[in-house]
Symmetry: C2
Subunit: 203 residues, 2 copies
């Protein structure tokens, strides 16, 4: 094959859409074939095992996004900016790829792997910021803070996907609120959350 764009990619993309629409983690192979614009036999030819498809989709999505977010964070000195940008990257991407966004919304709170994706980078930034005195919270509240960041981010994605807000507004508002919860002054939180958001690096 030339490269990973033909059947495999289309099948994966279609699977993501179907999972997002139906909510379950099992899939109808005939439907998948039709959604991917591909013959039923092709699904099997490509070594797709329906039972594991969900996990594969989640794993692929999670590792890709995780890598890109980590790249985006590595050159940012201020943990407050890193956290704010992380949230906004998710929100913007939901806008740019609604299928991806809907998939996340559906499974954010039921797939552990997915949760790892959007909590592992914030976890690092959070601890950095706590030690540096940039954030104010008790160390034993860390998991609650992480949960708030994740929950707020996902909720902001929903606002965008439902057309209630632009990705800029939803992303900046979410980031601002999180930074305030972390103890930043309202004015500074607002300023950081409104910065230009650099493009998300390719992994």
């Amino acid at each position: 094959m030339s490269f990973a764009s033909t059947a495999q990619a289309r099948i994966n993309q279609a699977a993501m859409r179907l999972f997002a629409e139906k909510g379950g983690n099992q899939i109808n192979v005939s439907e998948l074939a039709q959604a991917a614009g591909v013959a039923r036999g092709t699904i099997y030819n490509n070594g797709v095992e329906p039972d594991r498809l969900f996990e594969e989709v989640v794993a692929g999505l999670a590792s890709e996004m995780h890598a890109r977010i980590a790249l985006a964070s590595q050159d940012i000195a201020d943990p407050a900016i890193a956290v704010a940008n992380g949230i906004r990257h998710f929100v913007r991407r939901a806008h740019e790829d609604p299928v991806w966004g809907r998939f996340i919304l559906r499974f954010a709170f039921s797939s552990n792997l997915l949760r790892t994706m959007f909590e592992s980078q914030p976890s690092v930034d959070l601890m950095k910021g706590l030690k540096a005195g940039r954030f104010q919270f008790q160390p034993d509240q860390a998991s609650s803070v992480l949960a708030m960041i994740g929950g707020t981010g996902v909720a902001a994605m929903l606002l965008v996907l439902d057309g209630h807000k632009t990705w800029r507004e939803a992303g900046s508002n979410a980031a601002e609120l999180v930074l305030r919860a972390l103890g930043l002054e309202a004015a500074e939180a607002r300023a950081i959350a409104a910065n230009d958001l650099p493009p998300l690096p390719e992994s």
Copy 2:
């Protein structure tokens, strides 16, 4: 029948559990019968229409919780306390009824009706608090603030259901962080979030 506890109730409870486990919104009638400890015929006897079962479960759950939360809020003068208690009621209930909690987690961000349930009361309290100068945010940020409250609450429920925190900790932390995001002083936010939580009124 004596009263509404026999088949209907068990079927509904089992349906909630299955929906929460499987994620989809369609159900296998044979499986439902088995999970409810009831014969397959009984499902049909009780006028259950499999296609509408999901909506019925959601609607019942949403209206019940909505009514109880509204009751709990009506006598609370300080919007900050109302918001904090609302979040904590959800978190505690997830602890007391894990099936209910898992159901909410699964569908919080994909069922509009469910979202209404945990955003309508906060919406009222939020506006009250904004007008009273108790909360600091721009009026056009209201929907983002609501989203943050919902997202943070749901994420706190997850912490409890996964056994990472007690309901008291997760609930208080979530409430505290939300109040801080709303502009309250850290000390006051902490105090309000740690108050004794009254029982949730019966509807």
